[in-house]
């Protein structure tokens, strides 16, 4: 019994482990366990996250860039139709939530939406199929979904946060921005309280952005792993084993279909919040 518990938890750990690599003692080295990855400290890279997010980002830019290059105002066909549909959807979302005038917000929203959508979509690839490719290549761990890595979601959220800071200062001036942080809601005599409240408010934006996406995708991935475990408990041709195996098929199908919704929804939420935060950065407070 104890050996089976060990393999089960090892299976889960294996699937939640990034391919963390660093340069140690002058040579490239990848971690084999979570502890080893932790010991590498800050200056290590999750190669799988970087690789997948780069590839998916390039895929998005390639598909859309190719259409953008050859686009004509005439009758749209095929891929152009799809791209236009997406672009119009993003454009109407931006027009609905963003009241300022900034040519950067809409392309930003499109990039955020498409990139996150593609990264989330990797969740639908059966989790154990990845190792069919990575194992022969000698890669021990490979997480296919970059958004289940907090580094990826946090990285994007920091990007958005920097833009919020930049536009807050650009639109309101440094004084205006600091005033906004310190002089409300209780006036200048409640300055420490104001600073605390507004500071939390400000910091909460990137944290909530990053953790919402990460949490949702991580939990989804976790459930896929747990569902995948059901069939692994096959011992012999018995009623119990067959039931579990059948349940795995049905449940992973059901969860995958449900996940299509989550994939899109989380990308949409991240995009909408990005637009809203930037809109707040552009607005003068009363």
């Amino acid at each position: 019994m104890s050996t089976e518990d060990l393999t089960t938890s090892a299976y889960i750990k294996h699937h939640l482990q990034n391919l963390t690599c660093t340069i140690q003692d002058g040579h490239f080295h990848c971690a084999h366990s979570a502890e080893e990855a932790k010991e590498m400290g800050f200056w290590a890279f999750n190669m799988d996250t970087l690789f997948m997010s780069l590839m998916l980002g390039l895929l998005f830019l390639f598909l859309f860039g190719r259409v953008a290059k050859s686009i004509s105002p005439g009758e749209p066909r095929g891929m152009q139709n799809f791209v236009e549909w997406v672009v119009e959807f993003i454009d109407s979302s931006v027009r609905g939530s963003f009241t300022g005038r900034n040519a950067m917000v809409a392309p930003l929203a499109l990039s955020v939406f498409a990139w996150i959508f593609l990264m989330n979509l990797m969740d639908l690839v059966p989790i154990d199929y990845v190792s069919l490719i990575t194992e022969p290549l000698g890669i021990g761990h490979f997480k296919l979904v970059p958004t289940t890595d907090p580094n990826a979601t946090m990285g994007m959220a920091i990007g958005v946060f920097l833009l919020v800071l930049f536009y807050s200062i650009k639109v309101k001036g440094l004084g205006g921005f600091i005033g906004e942080l310190t002089l409300q809601p209780f006036g200048k005599f409640g300055l420490p309280v104001n600073l605390f409240l507004e500071g939390v408010n400000l910091i909460a934006k990137p944290i909530s952005l990053a953790l919402r996406l990460f949490g949702n995708m991580y939990a989804g991935e976790m459930i896929f792993i747990l569902i995948a475990l059901m069939g692994a408990s096959w011992v012999s041709v018995s009623f119990g084993s067959t039931l579990l195996f059948g349940s795995q098929i049905l449940l992973s199908l059901g969860w995958a279909i449900f996940h299509i919704l989550i994939v899109t929804l989380q990308a949409f939420i991240f995009m909408t919040l990005t637009i809203v935060y930037l809109d707040m950065a552009h607005q003068e407070h009363h």
């Binding site: 939640l16 990034n18 963390t20 979570a34 990855a37 932790k38 590498m40 400290g41 800050f42 200056w43 290590a44 890279f45 999750n46 996250t49 970087l50 997010s53 780069l54 980002g57 998005f60 830019l61 859309f64 860039g65 259409v67 953008a68 290059k69 686009i71 004509s72 105002p73 005439g74 791209v83 236009e84 672009v87 119009e88 454009d91 040519a103 950067m104 809409a106 392309p107 930003l108 499109l110 990039s111 955020v112 990139w115 890595d149 907090p150 580094n151 990826a152 946090m154 990285g155 994007m156 920091i158 990007g159 920097l162």
Partner: protein, 156 residues
Amino acid sequence: MNINATLIAQTIMFALFVWFCMKYVWPPIMAALDARNKRIADGLAAAERGKNELALASKRSAEMLREAKEKVSEIIAQGDKRASEIVEEAKEQARVEGERIVAAAKAEIEQEVFRAREQLRTQVTSVALAGAGKILGREIDAKAHNDLLDKLVAEI
């Protein structure tokens, strides 16, 4: 699952993707969409204009048709009037001509009568002369009694 330098790399990657999208992807697509929007709006406006023009033209053609009908009926009325006038004139002319012919005929008849009477008179005169001559013989000088005879002839 620990935070490491991937964070920085992801932020840079994110910035580059957004920059590329802003520079090369979004503007041409939006430009094309705007161009198409404008084209459709223009097309709709042109269709609307065409419809208005059609309505105007059909109104104008109905107007012209009405005017033409009016003119035609006017012309017909004029024609009728003229025709009756011509008939009247012709009647008048015919009447005048008839009268003229009648008058001429009468005149001719009178002339004929006069001539016949004249002839008759001369013949009567000669007959009377001959008769008188025969009755009176030599006693009557034709020359001396010619005046008397002429008076007699005129009385006849």
